[in-house]
């Protein structure tokens, strides 16, 4: 039927098509599979002709949707890919983002674009993807047997609206062009029709314009083409054309809704960096702390065993970053470490906790649900929740600005520091966690560190702070100050250590 359109075809089949359609299964290799009077054949021909004329056969990637035009790959002397139902604009996005030189065409029907895939379509439009969308709107589902489409007219009878589309039940037809034109990103939106020779000529022009925009990398262009489906609508071709002109064009007025390609610069995308050294420079972190040689091992006995640490408090108190600082110390002193946060909504307001395990061996389970060696608590509820998990002879460190002295067995080593108060004095509650670190360094020195480790440890704390906040110089200074303030505060109370109660 495509051969019988009103278009003037000077030299037979368009150069964009194959001479014979070898991809089409069965005996018929010369004709299209579309029904008589169907609009797809005409649109295919206009697209094929444009691609041949622009000489972009080798750069064009067509995406076939789900619907009658799923078989459009039979015909074009170039093709592309079949997309899942409605997903053509997302697939197009992948194709054009991966290679901005690809000329990507998303060919879609009303069900594909307006119903199942509308979000994919409207979002691609709104991103201004450099693609051409040809939207064939015939107001009915052709392939599945004439069911209602999102663009079926009010009162129009289909297999799934046997008494006619009711606006109270199925709503109104979707005015896609109007919606797309209302967005900022798209550059060209036009609604055309196949109802007459004159209209087909306009369609041809619109399709060419969309291609030109895509070739120029100007962005998102869409041509909505009102077409017929006479077989499903039970019209002959004259009745079909009359229906398009009198009914469809009445509801879906023709015209250009937007054409701002001239105002837009071509879209430029960056070139990927793959040079080995450049990739390393960008991806590998800058070494901040001096660290130690690969064979260094702290000599104190405490480090011979796996150590389990739990830190808990309110979200926003720096619980997680305190854990990070301790984990970083482990990294800087050649330990294996794991750090596991409680994650999710509790991080954004409620309680937060994290566990750190340091070991000279491989750490197996990163979970601390009992027997932790060191418990750091920054709020009262966490004290109640986690104190039972502290091991015999374990260390408890807590913020005594806000927490009452806990009751626990005498074997526990308990240190209190007014972390929040001290941090506020220094300038930000946020560095309360570094105050705690200062207190921790005193505990370590008092009870656990031996020989050279005593000297090494303060440096390790400082390096960890520098490493954790490498990108925020002013934060480093404040936290180091907080660290020493915490240290001093605890040392001052040493003559009168907190009673274990």
């Amino acid at each position: 039927m495509t051969e019988n359109t009103n278009m003037k075809v000077k030299y037979g089949r368009s150069k964009g098509f194959f001479e014979t359609f070898e991809r089409r299964p069965g005996a018929i290799k010369k004709n299209m599979h579309y029904c008589p009077g169907c609009g797809h054949g005409i649109v295919h021909k206009l697209i094929a002709e444009s691609i041949a004329d622009f000489d972009i056969k080798d750069r064009t990637i067509m995406i076939a949707p789900v619907g009658c035009s799923v078989f459009s790959y039979y015909y074009y002397d170039y093709f592309g890919i079949s997309a899942p139902h409605g997903r053509a604009p997302a697939v197009a996005t992948g194709l054009v983002r991966a290679n901005p030189d690809n000329i990507v065409v998303s060919y879609q029907g009303d069900g594909d674009l307006g119903a199942i895939g509308f979000n994919n379509f409207i979002q691609a439009a709104n991103r201004g993807e450099n693609i051409a969308v040809f939207f064939v709107n015939n107001g009915i589902y052709g392939m599945t047997g004439g069911q209602m489409a999102p663009t079926t007219l009010p009162g129009q009878k289909t297999a799934t609206s046997p008494t006619g589309r009711s606006v109270t039940n199925e709503g109104y037809p979707l005015k896609v062009s109007e919606m797309v034109a209302a967005l900022d990103a798209p550059i060209y939106v036009e609604r055309v029709s196949l109802s007459s020779t004159k209209n087909i000529a306009r369609t041809r022009k619109a399709i060419r314009k969309a291609f030109q925009n895509t070739i120029d990398k100007k962005g998102f262009s869409m041509v909505e083409i009102l077409a017929g489906c006479p077989v499903n609508m039970k019209f002959n071709s004259r009745e079909m054309n009359e229906f398009i002109e009198n009914q469809m064009q009445h509801y879906f007025p023709l015209g250009c809704f937007k054409d701002i390609a001239d105002t837009r610069d071509p879209i430029k995308r960056p070139e990927g960096i793959f040079d080995k050294q450049k990739v390393k420079d960008i991806l590998y972190p800058i070494k901040v702390a001096k660290g130690v040689s690969a064979d260094f091992k702290n000599e104190s006995k405490i480090f011979q065993k796996e150590r389990k640490i739990k830190i808990a408090g309110f979200g926003g108190q720096g619980v997680l970053s305190l854990g990070m600082m301790i984990a970083t110390m482990g990294k800087l002193r050649n330990f294996n470490v794991t750090w596991l946060p409680s994650y999710g909504p509790e991080m954004r307001g409620g309680t937060a906790n994290c566990t750190i395990i340091t070991s000279r061996q491989k750490v197996c389970s990163p979970i601390v649900d009992k027997l932790c060696n060191l418990l750091i608590v920054l709020n009262q509820p966490s004290m109640e929740m986690f104190l039972p998990e502290l091991k015999q002879n374990g260390v408890l460190l807590y913020d005594s600005s806000t927490i009452a002295p806990p009751k626990c067995s005498e074997d526990k080593i308990i240190y209190a520091v007014k972390a929040s108060d001290i941090a506020k004095k220094i300038g930000s509650l946020k560095c309360a966690n570094s105050v705690i670190l200062g207190a921790l360094s005193v505990v370590m020195k008092d009870y656990f560190l031996e020989g050279k480790d005593k000297k090494d440890f303060d440096r390790a704390f400082e390096e960890a702070i520098m490493d954790c906040f490498a990108d925020k110089q002013n934060v480093i200074q404040m936290n180091i100050e907080a660290f020493y303030a915490g240290k001093e505060a605890v040392e001052a109370t040493l003559t009168n250590p907190h009673p274990g109660v």
């Binding site: 080798d58 890919i81 997903r87 996005t93 983002r97 960056p270 990294k331």
Partner: protein, 371 residues
């Protein structure tokens, strides 16, 4: 040790979720399309930071379905491409995964499993095993599934995943639980690889794509059957060559503990504790979930008297263990759900009970044979 000039280090502390992005970038991944979801969001965060820094593509898609279809497009363009999500998002992606498999396109999908069904919660679970390992979407397809258990493996497996995806032309899942995704560990970054050339089958406007066509539609029944047979042959080939399991003290083990992801690490600790108690325990960790390491399990079943499958699900992998050993040995299940992680203690206690060495409260006659 000498500083002053800018020195880079390849050692850093990374969450599993971050490490997989570093790995992917070093493995030459060019595009990331994703949608945020806890507990996988750090993957998108890290990708959003580093893909653009390396001039590569990061795009937050409008939906999970859009993300997987963007992956389909970029993969068709011949680029290394990835996406990431968690259970609910993976359910939504299944349509696109089926198309990737049916069109024989490579891609890497990271699934950081959380609690389900429905909204479930954001705690760690392993309940996507069936939907990921068994195909998941419509049609007769399989994806390669690999299950890292550390941040280092999250990084290293990205290389492996892309290589296998390219070799076999199919989607490869990196499947792990919320614990491995969220856990921070020391990672040594490998060297980046050179850019991969665009494959011959790809749709790339610069290299004559005209004859290339990518589709999964085969209208004639015989054509589609032929296509399916080819796919099954490919999966058989993968089954033959790509099985990987990690064995720990299995040679003389009478009871073998098996788990993937974080559970495999708990199992190893449990084995150590059990050995101290004189129980001959070993652990067998499937590293590839498809292909399931049938050979390793068969071998283990020759000496082991029983198996304990530990899962953070209702017991999904246990079926594969039973099938692998053809039910020749009892396979027991120890599982937690809802975001709970089994404890090492519970695994040890279960093994003691099973081997009849338990001194558990109920001092009934041991069910197993006494050593």
């Amino acid at each position: 040790m000498n500083n002053t000039t800018v020195v880079h280090t390849n050692k850093l502390l990374l969450k599993g979720n971050e490490a997989v992005v570093y790995g992917a970038l070093l493995a030459g991944c060019e595009c990331f399309f994703g949608y945020p979801i806890t507990p996988a969001s750090e993957i998108a965060h890290t990708a959003a930071e580093y893909f653009p820094k390396l001039g590569r593509v990061f795009l937050q898609a409008e939906s999970e379905t859009a993300a997987i279809n963007m992956v389909l497009g970029a993969s068709a363009a011949g680029r290394r491409v990835m996406t990431a999500s968690s259970g609910l998002g993976i359910s939504l992606k299944q349509e696109g995964v089926s198309y990737l498999a049916g069109s024989e396109l490579p891609a890497v999908i990271v699934d950081i499993m959380r609690g389900g069904p429905g909204l479930g919660n954001i705690g760690p679970e392993q309940s996507d095993y069936n939907q990921v390992v068994k195909g998941g979407g419509h049609g007769n397809y399989k994806c390669i599934v690999i299950a890292p258990n550390s941040a280092q493996e999250m990084c290293d497996f990205a290389f492996w995943a892309f290589d296998m995806a390219d070799k076999y032309l199919l989607p490869v899942y990196i499947l792990t639980d919320g614990v491995v995704g969220q856990m921070l560990e020391l990672v040594s970054l490998p060297d980046p690889i050179p850019r991969k050339p665009v494959p011959k089958w790809a749709l790339d406007g610069r290299y004559n794509p005209r004859t290339n066509m990518i589709t999964s539609i085969y209208l004639e029944h015989d054509d589609l059957e032929r296509r399916n047979i080819l796919l099954q042959e490919k999966y058989a080939e993968i089954m033959k060559h790509e099985q990987i399991a990690e064995e720990y003290l299995t040679e003389d083990a009478e009871i073998i503990i098996s788990g993937h992801g974080i559970v495999s690490r708990l199992a190893q600790t449990a084995v150590e504790e059990l050995r101290e108690k004189g129980i001959k325990a070993g652990s067998l960790r499937p590293v590839t979930l498809f292909p399931f390491p049938v050979k390793a399990f068969k071998k283990a079943a020759k000496t082991a008297k029983q198996f304990l499958c530990v899962e953070m699900s209702n017991g999904q992998m246990i079926d594969d263990i039973k099938l692998s050993i053809e039910c020749s040995r009892p396979v027991h299940l120890l599982n937690r759900m809802g975001g709970n992680v089994p404890t090492v203690d519970s695994i040890v206690a279960k093994c003691l009970e099973l081997t009849g060495s338990g001194k558990s409260g109920k001092s009934k006659a041991p069910r197993g044979k006494k050593k």
